[in-house]
């Protein structure tokens, strides 16, 4: 089996339009959640979100590209460019032929669906733009990354709701580890912050009207975000041979299914994913210094997740740090695991643990070190990133300092 390392990272989200900006915001515990701005927002009961601001797609992409790029594709391409630029990897010849793109998204081109339904149903139009389908399809972003960067190997999109990015990165990891691909672009993106996207979520009555406060006793729900995170996963010797700057090593993953309920999380399913990732990586539980929690800020997730951590780590659960950066960037649904992986990389590489902001009251059912409100300096050798999706589909990734 090959060793797999991360040699490039890119992102755009409500905290920043790049990795350095996002990590700075996480270090400072800044909140990217604010009043949503889009058409018909006044008809929503939920009017906050982690919206990307000041992103001028028109300046980055030409007119032809704009007719094909939904916002989730725009975010993906922006993040992919940053990751590839940082990595310095160039895809030619055999490397190009064998390297691919695996990305996660839950909804794909949600705002393209929304705009065009509005046009035919509300405005009564009988014609839509010829590229509506290629613009909204869930694999559009992965396909455009492959075209833009000449990646001709295995490329596809994974859709497992809130675990999409983690499932995608786990598959990319598997491909590089097995030797099937020397490098993979992976991560995910989401852009659901439009009237229909938020309206659908409102129906579940799990959204907060004021803030995302994971693990805090007074938490009252999740807050949506948007954006993308994309990484270059590369075979270790390949990266070393070209003198690449290695951000960290990907050492294991596990996926599990609760097989119980379509929305309620399961402690056992979450626990099996975490212990499975440790077993896959060949690591002991007490080597883990930091967990980037799924930490949605709902009543159900946070207590279940904390119980699962306590079960897997035993007494070490009180030693490790666990934080939810969703408190800052919101829940990016299918893109969330990718943006959250950045907090794991920061912990391993910079020794800075991103905080759980908005933490106001301890909850006895979430009695772990959640790094409340302020970032902390700490040396961490191993970090886990949790994602537990609706549908009971879980994916956990283990990263190691290098």
């Amino acid at each position: 089996m090959k060793r797999v390392v991360i040699t490039g990272a890119g992102t755009i989200n409500s905290l920043g339009h790049s990795v350095p900006d996002t990590l700075e915001a996480m270090r400072e515990g800044r909140c990217g959640i604010s009043a949503l701005e889009f058409r018909d927002v006044e008809r929503l009961a939920i009017q906050i979100g982690g919206q990307v601001r000041g992103f001028e797609a028109e300046g980055r992409f030409n007119r032809q590209q704009m007719t094909l790029y939904d916002r989730f594709t725009q975010f993906t391409l922006t993040a992919a460019k940053e990751a590839i630029d940082q990595s310095g990897i160039e895809f030619h010849g055999d490397l190009a032929a064998r390297s691919g793109v695996v990305l996660g998204t839950a909804g794909g081109g949600v705002s393209t669906w929304d705009d065009n339904y509005r046009s035919v149903y509300e405005d009564g139009k009988n014609r839509v733009h010829p590229f509506v389908v290629p613009k909204l399809m869930n694999n559009a972003a992965a396909s455009h990354v492959s075209m833009e960067h000449n990646l001709k190997g295995p490329s596809f999109t994974v859709s497992t709701a809130c675990a999409s990015s983690n499932h995608a990165m786990a598959l990319a990891f598997q491909m590089v580890r097995s030797g099937a691909a020397p490098a993979m672009l992976t991560g995910g993106s989401e852009s659901m912050l439009c009237f229909g996207g938020v309206k659908a979520w409102e129906g579940l009555r799990v959204m907060s009207k004021d803030a995302c406060r994971p693990f805090s006793a007074n938490r009252n729900g999740m807050v949506q975000g948007e954006g993308a995170g994309v990484f270059v996963f590369e075979e270790y010797e390949h990266a070393r041979a070209r003198g690449a700057d290695i951000l960290c090593e990907v050492v294991g993953f596990a996926m599990s299914s609760d097989a119980s309920d379509i929305v309620m999380p399961s402690k056992q399913g979450a626990a099996r994913a975490m212990s499975g990732a440790l077993a896959d990586a060949g690591l002991s539980a007490d080597s883990v210094g930091y967990i980037n929690a799924h930490g949605t800020g709902t009543a159900a997730n946070d207590k279940t997740e904390c119980a699962a951590v306590a079960g897997v780590f035993g007494p070490h659960a009180d030693e490790l740090m666990i934080s939810s950066t969703k408190s800052m960037h919101g829940h990016l649904i299918g893109g969330t695991g990718a943006v959250e992986l950045l907090a794991c990389i920061m912990a391993l590489r910079d020794g800075v643990i991103a905080p759980t902001i908005g933490y106001e009251e301890p909850d006895p059912e979430c009695a772990l070190d959640v790094v409340p409100n302020e970032a902390r300096e700490a040396k961490v050798d191993v970090a886990l990133s949790n994602a537990f999706a609706f549908g009971g589909l879980n994916a956990v990734i283990a990263l190691k300092r290098i």
Partner: protein, 85 residues
């Protein structure tokens, strides 16, 4: 049908019971309605009466809307319907 009968009909349908099996003292738990069933019932009641019920599944007890039993739900709906302009 009175407000009370209409609410009981909705709850009974959700619980897959006859309306006669739903009493004012029944709790949703006794009727076998779980958190998803509760959210669905609230949606159906909102649609039936064209009202908005202040209910967040994360903090059921924090909202003004009392769901402790069927009678409490009916009282809450009657109040919201009477407040409707």
């Amino acid at each position: 049908m009175s407000i009370s009968d209409r609410v009981i009909a909705i709850i009974a349908e959700q619980a897959v019971l006859e309306p006669s099996d739903v009493t004012p003292e029944s709790t949703l738990e006794e009727l076998g309605i779980d958190s998803l069933g509760l959210v669905e019932s609230i949606f159906a009641i909102e649609e039936e009466f064209d009202i908005s019920i202040p209910f967040n599944a994360n903090e059921p007890s924090a909202s003004d809307f009392d769901i402790s039993n069927v009678a409490a739900i009916i009282t809450g709906i009657q109040k919201l319907v009477s407040e409707k302009v």
